[in-house]
Symmetry: D3
Subunit: 230 residues, 6 copies
């Protein structure tokens, strides 16, 4: 069961609208290694788990934390698409003009060229469940195999690849608010890399797995003559 | 921000394993009108909203409830794929045999033919983020337009189509536990239909929208001669 | 059986080429709530129907009208991508240069940045079966459940969400011809909202359905204690 | 503009329900080389065309014929999923039991294993816009390049691959009605192969194209030393 | 079994970075008729073949050649995204700034608008397995039917449509190195059109197939009255 | 540049046709962690690499080996779908009957229910570029980020998850030939896990990366107060 608290884990606002950057943030939200992917992967690994309680707790704890990350990124994308004070979208929706959200007259054409048109036409200046090229997030991004070691390794990868993307986008904005948002993400993903690495070691120390997956596996089934030649 | 309580909203266990029914439940979990779709749609509508607070609260409340529905269905699918008591999956994963989960010897071949092979090969007897034909849930299932009336109408549809599917699957099982699970869902979806219908009426009573979308819209822009001829 | 008349329901020509606007019109043609989606949904609902004849006739009538809308939008997209008089594409195809379709030299770079490259490389300045971000229309957009009330509700939503998108794009062009095209669409979609709302009421007045879907459904199967608490 | 006549081009009814065969027919309807693909490809080629009128007429004529093929196959699929006389689906939808459509008690389990569960849960015993494995038809199946010769060649392929699939499914049914349906399709696709081959020859005889695509193309741009060595 | 030689079939370097052109080249690499599609189609046709050895050899020979084309295009895309001499990517990855790859300050904003953001955020200035709109290449692009004539016809189409796209992109660059790359491709695709046309004729001359697919097919199964009327 | 040798790395033949197992092997070939995914990921990582030569060599060596694995699995799938001696497919294709490949009369109905219908209708008893549920392999499965450590971690995961799937399928066949095929794969994937783990350690020993990705990264950009609290 889940509860929602109407408060963000960390609040941050962009200095000004930036539709082209909003489009890029969609990659961190709903790309292959975005927040949605880790959220759903940890939750599914938890729901599917019959392993020791301590690992299930860990999966639910971090998975639930990731729902909050999805929330914070979605709201940041909405804010980057929004020129108006909170509360006016309904008004704007009546006579739908993207208007001044497109910034000063000089850069207007370039923003028109570079933004995601669906942010204007489809979602009403809101976030979508899609990546930076408009391709929908899909459930094949989720990894949950029923094997703790294989999944913890994948979790470490997801945090590694995801954090790499965050750091690349960090360089592309000068906005104090957006950088605050991403600095928080960078910190969390470093912590999570540490946590999954610890879990990888612990699941082997517990004797549940050896390094090679799958293990223990009857070695007479492996064509050993091949395993150590190349 | 979200919190997770390690307890199900309603606990229900299947009377026996049933991999072919587990495959069908994936439709309710991750099909186009499954629980994942309403969960993500309500949350995105909430995160993208600049409308009145009362509607945002409603979106977050029902959206968070739907995360619990995703949880309950995922766990039910795992249980339908599982012959073993909770706690033994790790053991089973070491020497991966689907084994007795396939039921008595008479029906074994038919179950082998009719189950989703990925439940055995990929997810280790766990739920996937895919529909009953193995097609991944995708973010294009989410509807969030920034227009309250258009979205509330969609919400009513999602609960209608979803509930229709629940009722069809209800007929196809004799398991007391599974029927308990679905009877709960049927009740929730009826309640939600009532709620979204009330919201549809209220958003018009509030004067935010008229029946026709978009409204108010300057009528000189509509080719009125066409609107009432056919 | 279908017949084609070599004449458009309403003819309209753009004042000048506009590849970035052509890209946006793809959303109305082949996005999730575009013309292709309503065309195929109404036709499938008709082909799958065993309900009263009057509803099947309605589905085929409006579905067939939507084929013409797909036709008119496709041709408008082609025209927006085309600098040349009708008849010269074959010539242009021989030595394929997008050329002057890209407008004056000043805006050429921006158009190059903002257009859909497939309009040049793949479709030869023609419409594609894809949305504004280049994602292909797919059959999961079609809704046809065999339940008249559930489907009529969906039809109302599709016309609502679709018309919202048309109105948003209307604001983004100054072209008289394009606005004429969209004003016609706005009128049709308002008419269709009226029609599906009437059908929603009639199918209940006929006694085929009650408000809650599915109905009539044996109430002892619903966990009623849940349906009216929250 | 299109018109619909409430009569099938050729009427045929299955001798009995056959859900597993219905699933297979989805391949002919909405697979990569199914009727939907040729229908939409010919229509898009027509809408995008600036070539000679005679070819546009041909594209619209055959494309419109294919809408009728989509219609006939969709209805055949519905009939194969339906045990009840036309008119009773609404009744069946009220208390949704697939029931006797599943055939005699002996084969019921096998049919349950082999059918597409969405035909029961999602579409209410109706056709879907998906292939035999439940994967949605998508707009990337459409080919329309603006080059008549390249597209006519593709049209010939689509009729060839499609007809091959029809002939393979013909062998797998003993139903007189279904075979009548497929015999008609086989005849049409043979005729269409003849027609597109004639068009391939004519477009070259007209001098619009030479054998090699693209042509005429300035030969100094081709690394000719490579073109004739291997 | 395959071997790799650490040398390109033809080496070519762009005169300067050009991220917007790199995005367009993705269409030739991983679009529906890109190099990846012909590579995998020819290889699958070969692996699935039980036909005469001479055709299998041909399929493997051209299929293997196409792996090298995939290689050359991927490397060209990387080079167009790269300002730095080969060897520095690892350094650049440490502090990820796209930097001067974006060209002079005047055009920087336009390039930012028109490039594929994933080339910066996701792939680290490398090629992706996606088309020019960021849609992933997928296995449904592969054609392999087990019927030699149907597949050779498709092979001819793939080379025709693909070459058409190459020729269109050739016009859009002034870079000597890129034109050298594409001139080579144009030559290969002309040669391949010749080769598949020869195979189409030979497989009929061998008596394996007649013009109409499928053939020989018992004519009493075809509704002949339909095949020659329209 | 690549060369093909007309000989398999390891030849193995199934004891008898088994279409339901052939369907399952598609998961190992073209599922998310199948052979196609590792083949294309290693090759793209190599083509995109500007890192030290020793790692590029390793990527090309293992990537090229994986093309042979794709080859061997594809051929095994074809053989499992084939009752006929090699050479007769062309004959079978003329009058397309799956025939005795479906085994003895007793199990024929079950096989008909459980096989992938596309193996009969579409691919002519050949392998497809799709997973065990008929969903096409897609380019989003490829990981290539330009960061050696992040990618080597992913490579280790892919071999771990892939090998887990191989071991699960090993249990489901009694065929000596198929087990020989999979025993070889198990050995290779164990070797590859060892190799990628060694590379993970070496790339850190080389001083190119520290444990946390991205690194070195200016720590003042990370909200450190968050990184070590939870």
């Amino acid at each position: 069961m889940f509860f929602h608290v109407k408060q963000l884990q960390l609040d941050a606002k962009p200095d000004q609208p930036d539709p082209m950057y909003a489009r890029r943030l969609q990659e961190l939200l709903d790309g292959k290694f975005g927040e949605m992917t880790v959220m759903m992967s940890y939750l599914f690994q938890g729901w599917n788990s019959r392993g020791p309680q301590k690992y299930r707790d860990m999966l639910f704890d971090i998975g639930t934390e990731e729902i909050a990350h999805v929330e914070m990124l979605s709201i940041m994308i909405s804010r980057l698409l929004d020129k108006a004070p909170i509360g006016d979208q309904e008004e704007a929706a009546k006579i739908p003009v993207l208007g001044a959200a497109l910034g000063g007259s000089d850069s207007k054409d370039v923003i028109y060229a570079g933004m995601n048109p669906q942010h204007e036409i489809v979602s009403g200046q809101g976030a979508e469940a899609k990546d930076s090229m408009g391709v929908a997030w899909n459930g094949n991004f989720v990894t949950s195999s029923g094997n703790l070691l294989a999944d913890f390794r994948w979790n470490l990868v997801a945090e590694s690849q995801g954090n790499l993307q965050v750091s690349r986008l960090y360089e592309r904005t000068g906005s104090t608010g957006v950088r605050k948002r991403l600095a928080f993400n960078l910190a969390c993903d470093i912590m999570h890399q540490n946590q999954w690495q610890a879990a990888i070691e612990e699941v082997q120390a517990d004797g549940l797995h050896e390094f090679q997956i799958p293990s223990p596996f009857p070695l007479d089934r492996v064509m050993l003559s091949q395993a150590y030649t190349f």
